[in-house]
Symmetry: C2
Subunit: 834 residues, 2 copies
Amino acid sequence: MSAERQEFESARGGVPLNEPEVAERGTPVVDHAPSHAGEPIPMHGSREERAGPYNVIGQRQRKTDGLEKSTGRARYTDDLTLPGMLHGKILRSPHPHARILSIDTTAALALPGVHAVVTGDEMPIPFGIIVWTPDENALAVDKVRYIGDAVAAVAAADEDTAGRAIELIRVEYEVLDAVFDAEEAARSTDVQIHEAKKAGHNGNISKIVKLEFGDVEPGLAESDVVIEGEYYFEGTTHTPIEPHCAIGQWEQGGAAEGRLTVWSSTQVPHYLHRELAKVLEIDPARVRVIQPHVGGGFGGKSEPFDLEFCVAKLAMKTGRPVKILYTREEVFYAHRGRHPFHMKYRVGATADGKLKAVDARTLLDGGAYSSFGLVTTYYSGQLLAAPYEIPAYRFNSTRVFTNKPACGPKRGHGSVQPRFAFEVTLDKLAVQLGIDPIELRRRNFMGSFRRTVNELRVTSNGFMECLDAVEAASGWKEKRSKMGYGRGLGVAGSCYISGTNYPIYPNRMPQSAVQIQVDRSGRVAVFSGASDIGQGSTSLVAYIVCEELGVPLDYVRVLPSDTDFTPVDLGSYSSRVTFMLGNACVDAARKLKALVQDAVGAEWDIPPRRVLLAGGQAMDALDTGRNMPIVKAFNLAESKHGTLGSVGSYNTPNDVHGEYRGGTIGASPAYSFTAHVAEVEVDDETGFVEVKKIWVAHDCGRAINPTIVEGQIEGSAYMGFAEALMEQNIYKDADHGRAGLHNAPSLLDYRIPTSVDTPELQALIVESIDPEGPYGAKEAGEGPLHPSIPAIANAIYDAVGIRMDRLPFSPPLVWRALRERDAAAREPERMAAD
Amino acid sequence: MSAERQEFESARGGVPLNEPEVAERGTPVVDHAPSHAGEPIPMHGSREERAGPYNVIGQRQRKTDGLEKSTGRARYTDDLTLPGMLHGKILRSPHPHARILSIDTTAALALPGVHAVVTGDEMPIPFGIIVWTPDENALAVDKVRYIGDAVAAVAAADEDTAGRAIELIRVEYEVLDAVFDAEEAARSTDVQIHEAKKAGHNGNISKIVKLEFGDVEPGLAESDVVIEGEYYFEGTTHTPIEPHCAIGQWEQGGAAEGRLTVWSSTQVPHYLHRELAKVLEIDPARVRVIQPHVGGGFGGKSEPFDLEFCVAKLAMKTGRPVKILYTREEVFYAHRGRHPFHMKYRVGATADGKLKAVDARTLLDGGAYSSFGLVTTYYSGQLLAAPYEIPAYRFNSTRVFTNKPACGPKRGHGSVQPRFAFEVTLDKLAVQLGIDPIELRRRNFMGSFRRTVNELRVTSNGFMECLDAVEAASGWKEKRSKMGYGRGLGVAGSCYISGTNYPIYPNRMPQSAVQIQVDRSGRVAVFSGASDIGQGSTSLVAYIVCEELGVPLDYVRVLPSDTDFTPVDLGSYSSRVTFMLGNACVDAARKLKALVQDAVGAEWDIPPRRVLLAGGQAMDALDTGRNMPIVKAFNLAESKHGTLGSVGSYNTPNDVHGEYRGGTIGASPAYSFTAHVAEVEVDDETGFVEVKKIWVAHDCGRAINPTIVEGQIEGSAYMGFAEALMEQNIYKDADHGRAGLHNAPSLLDYRIPTSVDTPELQALIVESIDPEGPYGAKEAGEGPLHPSIPAIANAIYDAVGIRMDRLPFSPPLVWRALRERDAAAREPERMAAD
């Protein structure tokens, strides 16, 4: 056993290799299912039905909430003030790992203006976004596990008083040894952050996923070339503009039962609804979650947080509304950002560049709690298997706990890090084989409507068009390796999911739903629990309603997500919204459209299908001079069919009773594809990398509103660029202050690019028209981020010949790599001189 | 021609008697339709289907908003404050009739803190709640027609500044002669308040309805006894606790089009929505009306008012929200209360008390505008034709304009006044024939499932049970005419509508609609534009949802009326809500119930109809030990059928395409019936009438919540009692100050009873279980008022032998009647002495 392998074995806590773990009930992938690769894929829907031309879909138009936001009228959670509202603050642990021996709240409660204090023993039920890993408490019950872990909360007349009060809470801790390094955590048996979950594991093992598809070792053995590499991805965080904020309100309900309302800047009102009910032990029918406008999430608000439970509990204790707004420092503690990954890849290929086998080993540093870690661990391996044909694939991913803020999902959840490693590996392969890197990727293109070796059912696939687009736009052929020392071009490709096949808790209910109501004035109301975090889901449903029902955009009203009045949508994560919510909305709108067509058809004595609804009118498709205002058409339909309302929903095809017969669909109902070319200029003297421009071609299926798609593409590329060059989540070690303390929990120190720092970004839309997406749409919010980092890394290589296998590509690291390159180059000279 | 008849002829402005006017298109009754009296009546629904037993319906329980209101958390319109909100005031005419020559707003606009002034020329489009009579303007355009008519409005930083500003507006008036007396108005050709509507009318004729059914003159000629009488009903007003209040908000919508939102204490959000769009010339799809909690209406908020247009227009002019709250004085000017009626009746009967023919002539004093006057004029005649069998019936009703605040609908709209006159006439008949007044009424009972002579299709009819109930409860047989001088009992009966057959504007769309959504937590959301003005419509839909879906009451959430998100319900008037909204809600809920029964039935392999939903559980009806929590049942249904949402609606049966084959149903789909017995004590010396107790038996069809029904019965009897003894809308005449000025526009002077003044009230519920009502329900909010006044009048006769044919029965009028009685008694003595 090699030392490297040994290291990984121990990281797995002693579980023998190739002995697959039994997957937890209902976990989101199938382990070692019989392969359906190459079988025809039954489609859910048909191309023809989803064909255009469309009147609204595909048009550039404003977001429905754009003006409200740009004029400052939009109200975010912290803009809300309720009569008699109190303000809360949370006391956080100063220790990375300690046992709580006692908490004395006497002095805090005695402070004038303090209304209540709450501690963990009042909310002992653990929670977790993933139902199989509930390992968090609203407030620490027995132990604290990172600096910033929540210990107690206070409600007071104002924030200042609450702040003074938490300083008066006396907590007696028994400080425990802590562990900050993932590999040390995997080995350690002295420091156990959680109870061991399984016999043979230590308490620091969060999740292990080992899966093998095809014959990897023979594939590698038969390869003409095997590229091995080791990559480090330091963690990053989301830094949304709006810090987390929540308000709780408790109303006595007449009898003994009360009702809880929580306003929160959450991405997942439905999951928050569930967890509030569970932790606070309230019947979920008596819990209401309202989502005001959200000032960005990027995955950082996609699970419940301590503040949401604390405002609820404090409201219940005081009978008054309570608000907590995180400081920016607390946002860094809340974290749930991108995991640090330590990755090793072995990639085998033929001499002409065709991939033969991939072997991946990954150690994920999860921080103190599970969060979405179970999913992250699967995604770290599963999502690599497209867009390239990989005949044999094995991955072994282990997530460990450390005494740092918990990591979770950040835009491109779980797959940005392996994509970085793999696309750099492909670049190395191309260089070694002397094949143009774009050509190498073309040669390995998997095609569309195929299954991957690991059972991902890929439908539409516009990756080749993406490669073509960035190649042409960037002037690749003219410029790559031809711009002289210090300047270079790099390419990378990727794929990502459009929603997850399974919901986060197992059930067969729809993942998205829309209820619609048409008023006789022409106004169309849309109800959905979908979560608009700025990406435009509210606009999406409005566009669809306009397309189907023919009304102008400002006839549409969308009720903001409110669990009392909107049907369940699982939330904004995993790029699920356009695909799933869009399909649900099409479903609901077409039911109403049929009623309107029927009534107008009867009026004109023509078949209903001949009635077009568009541009504020109902028209005879064969004689558009024959038309009536859409309001009149609605009134005819209401007179004939009664009040016009409908409901539509979406679930993934293999979860809909007998409708789908193609086996599991794998991770997602559809996949998006992206290619980047980055152009960089590297200053040899300082190591400063200037990204001159990034060309991004993204197959979003169908651009429902090209302006929003371009915004998502640019935003993704911006975020990838930021992670490549600037962002880094660093915790102090014992040599540099208090071990485990976040190094720079402020936007002064944690560097994100300003508009001045940001390179020129060119978004290129590729539309593969997915047969199952709404109008063919897939996703655009996360996929375009993936190739950012490897494209820049590969461009740096093209510019100055160094391989950046560790993030970020900041001047110190780049300078060091340049000097190591120089030293290596001088080595033969030195040896020759010896 | 008798002098009396001549007088009425002239009151009709010269239209020849017995030459019926052509009814306006779509007006709510059929003139001289072929009689269907006595034909079998096809029913809409079946008794069996609506049979019990029920788990929720019929149970006493709290109102869903009771706690919110009683703890002060409920927010009424004036409780709302929007950022940057301005306050408005309306300048009102000091003249009862004048032409506006000019308006100079310069000084008002120059006052610091004033943001805008609006005058009538900016909103020239006339409006009116009845589409055929749009004769009002938001602000006077050319003329003012009563003291208090709105002339201009100001928006300022605060109410005081707005108040100062309206005093700075200079209006140049040409004062015109005014007319305050209805009979003078009918005759006058010098004073023309409006343009004449028809050739041959003068401009003061608002509406004339003359209808004859059966052969009246032969009937009277063949009668053994004919009672003639003349009655005066002075007007009263509603005095809701909450004064009218509205807030307007204008948002630019991105393009040129804006969006208007108006919050208003209205009873008719849908009609307000329509009229705002019309007057302000905004696409109705861009107008939103929100109804916060309403602090009472009683008909006084059931049409648009000046303030709603003014807040909208001022918001559009300033770009800021604007609120106007009426002073109590302004509520009196807004009025729309009960019309003064001058009534003459000739009632013929056989010697054994069977009615032969009724001839009624009525002059209605409408005040300055039409309001609901067209309907009032019809109702003044049409609704008298039950519960007694009247073989021949003629009425001739004329509504005129006068220079006073406009009259409109008040609880018991249009029929309280004739009911007073008619039931006193019946008492006279009983006395003259020596028949017990209750027995006389029994002898004339029309029965159930019969058509009246004027085509009212009466379905269930519990009037006989009502008579039995008050007779027994009051100890009628032991006490009537047996309690000695000064104490007496009186009886009266009545019938009223449960909603109107036709909507206020002609269309074939549903009159009520409900949209429902079931959450997987068990929460049920209900959307309806129904208007809860305190009567409990919100609770009603919650009870129905609980009955049908088996959830606890606090699982139900009802979105308050909001035209952006709730389907159209025509509003709270004409006792339409329980019947129509209830039926719509049953419709919507049963669609969902069927899905849940189907899913649970499939799970248990039993027929869906065997699945009971009750008490938070789904049960096998044949083995209730076999059950599951209702939440699980919902989840099964959602898994099988997708997200659970439905829509239900109601329209009157002869307006639903081919479903009903019984000819017109007349005024209403169902009728409620009431009997009162009042016990009084009359102080011979002062004329003070003390009502000791009122027994009220009311056939509400089915008491969905007996506590609310009793509250409505008591509230109605209270209001009738108040009108009988205390209330009086008086305007000054030239001899007593400024002619046309309201005598006492304050709650210090306008007398309504306090709880100390109020007699003991005993509500007796009679349930006739109407086959078309929801669970058999009809109405309880207005019907129980009708017999109050005649029962008290008849009790006064029983006590002291005087006939009170003019309201109110206040000490001066009663004292005068007593002394006239004494004088009449002395007359034979005097003559004998001569």
